[in-house]
Symmetry: C2
Subunit: 396 residues, 2 copies
């Protein structure tokens, strides 16, 4: 198996084992110098001229292509901007306009809540009898009926790590005439994705998890090439206009994916992300996937052998699991706090899920063994039964 | 007149006179060190723990209060996030739900195009017979009729600098039962604004102009205190949920202004903005206004005396002008390029407007005289008649 590990590219505090790159990736070492240079030479030195002279204006498309390469999106079909929540809204609003006679948006109960919330908000705003229908993740394909305008799913379940069969579900959606939207939050940079090959119409995702773009890094949206000049942008902002600097009073959508841009891009975040993408330049996602699965198998095996109180909540079959492993434990919140206190960072998702992300760019087999050693200490020592680890903070 | 100048707080390249702080403010000197620290100690050192331990999660409200102070918004009524385009959508979508029987959104033809584009997109998405009605800026008050759900105006015209009478227009809107939305893009940090006193329901604005938050700094939204628990967020993202980390499947709006949050905040941008706001700590906006008007009067006087080819496009009466002065000139684009080449940065707005912003925190009377000296050189030398200055770049 090819070695994809490149720990020296990431800023990892001494002694820390970071199993939360599926929530916020660590800082690439190249970020601080590039940001310092951007501040000094670009914002500081060029001021308003930075939009042209430093390439800020084209950055959302330029970085879009870097992300696109990792998700099987042809150049010119992916653009960065906004938050993933906004991109969900944009995607679903565009999709339902492509199927005007239909009134159902289908998703699953394992979807990340904001995806469902944004659709709920869209539906309420539209007030036209749209329905958000959610079914169990396993039941999605069968639930696609002729009244479904769009199927919107997160490819990899944020809680369990269960992965949908992208090609099969997309084919099932298309078979019933529905538009397919994939949220790649837990896929981009985690495993091979072939958007073009899947034939799905729209994909969205975030860049602060596996792509290490930094806290609040912008989201991305992909639209299938043949539809990019057809979709109607509900969020029709000036930077998606065909000629933003003509300042005309009426909106004319830009060419292709550019129309999915909305407002002024966050240049500091874009710059951090653009640097972070350098870590992916010579990475083969199939090699990342193989390495991730190996780490996950090792983790499952060691935990099940040594920590019997934890019950695997992720699919046992690696082929249908993303790049994380989740275990159920009644006192999972406190156990995770105790583990974090011992410098193994994973996270907790209500009600009882201890979640561990695997990111082979900066994790190896030795880290996995050490993480389990510390987990064993936490569990054998019943450290979760300590009041200091039981107080819930707002973000877990 | 009080001296509000504090040039040492800003990174201003030697010899440059920057009259474009109404487009992108210069970098506050404190930004690079704070960002370096944020990268090293927070993202780098705390990783996911930064959301709590470094206060990232509360930053949108915390910085919201700093911005709020400058616009007469009580603590807890302003929150940061997204782009101004998104905030326009959010504001108008909320406003029209407050007036369900009405179908007109009134604005003016001087509004910044993205404000109109976003409403156009909202209307098209709604497909319920809504109408965006635009009238000349001077005709707004009279055009508010009983079918107007919301009046949405930019307080200071981006092109001419003409300023609406906030209290009078708001009263006229309320008189006809319409909701009032003010876009403070060219007001926040430029002149005194009293949102609470105006009684307007909603205000929005950006922070990369007069507030010097950096390229792509987040936007803000204010909702009048008595309505904050009433407005329905169309963009109902997880961070506007009452309990985001409960991960429930249904959206419940958060308390007060928190419901206007949407997705994960851009922490690098928020941090740059939070530092930038330090420059405003002991600033009295009435003093800033007086200093700005003095600089503008001086500029108008000197230009009119020495550059007869330029025609004032801004109101002559300072009381109805924001913090910019615009002149019309047939060859304005090339003239501005030539002036920029001579290190006086203003900008151009189609079709023929040369725009100059006045920002007393880092501009003084000597700068104004020097700027006019260089403008005279450009005009007397007919430098605008040089091919190199006539080629249009994408961003002007």
């Amino acid at each position: 198996m090819a070695d994809v590990t490149r720990k020296d590219l990431f800023n990892l505090p001494e002694g820390l084992i970071y199993l939360d790159g599926n929530s916020l990736g660590p800082m690439p070492c190249a970020v601080p110098a590039r940001i310092a240079d951007m501040l000094d030479a670009e914002w500081g030195g060029l001021l308003i001229k930075g939009w042209n002279a430093a390439g800020w204006m084209d950055q959302p498309a330029r970085v879009g292509d870097l992300v696109g390469r990792l998700i099987g999106a042809p150049a010119g079909t992916t653009v960065l901007g906004d938050t993933l929540s906004i991109k969900v809204y944009q995607a679903v609003a565009a999709a339902i306009k492509l199927r005007p006679g239909r009134r159902v948006i289908l998703s699953d109960t394992g979807n990340f809540p904001t995806d469902l919330y944004m659709v709920e908000g869209l539906i309420k705003t539209l007030d036209q009898g749209y329905e958000l229908r959610t079914v169990a993740p396993e039941a999605v394909a069968e639930a696609i009926t002729g009244d479904v305008a769009a199927v919107m799913l997160t490819h990899v379940d944020y809680r369990t790590g269960r992965m949908h069969d992208m090609n099969a579900v997309t084919a099932a959606a298309h078979d019933k005439g529905a538009v397919m939207i994939w949220d790649l939050a837990h896929s981009a940079g985690a495993l091979p994705v072939d958007m073009a090959g899947s034939n799905a119409e729209i994909a969205i995702g975030c860049t602060y998890k596996y792509l290490n773009g930094g806290p609040g890094a912008p989201a991305f949206i992909y639209v299938r090439a043949d539809l990019a000049d057809t979709v109607e942008p509900a969020l029709s902002g000036w930077l998606g206009h065909r000629a933003p600097f003509d300042f005309t009073l009426n909106y004319k959508p830009g060419a292709g994916i550019e129309r999915m841009r909305v407002g002024t891009p966050p240049v500091l975040q874009m710059t951090a992300l653009e640097v972070a993408m350098q870590a992916w330049e010579d990475v083969d996602m199939h090699e990342v996937r193989a390495a991730s699965l190996a780490l996950q198998e090792q983790f499952i095996e060691e935990v099940e052998a040594r920590v019997p109180d934890l019950t695997l909540a992720s699919p046992r079959d690696g082929a249908v699991r993303g790049s994380q492993v989740s275990f159920e434990f009644e006192h999972g919140y406190a156990a995770m706090q105790a583990l974090i206190h011992h410098d193994v960072i994973g996270d907790f998702r209500a009600p009882n899920i201890m979640r561990f992300g695997f990111t082979p760019l900066y994790l190896d087999a030795g880290d996995v063994t050490e993480a389990v050693d510390r987990l064993v200490k936490v569990m054998d020592g019943r450290l979760w039964d300590t009041p200091e680890f039981q107080t819930k903070s707002r973000v877990t």
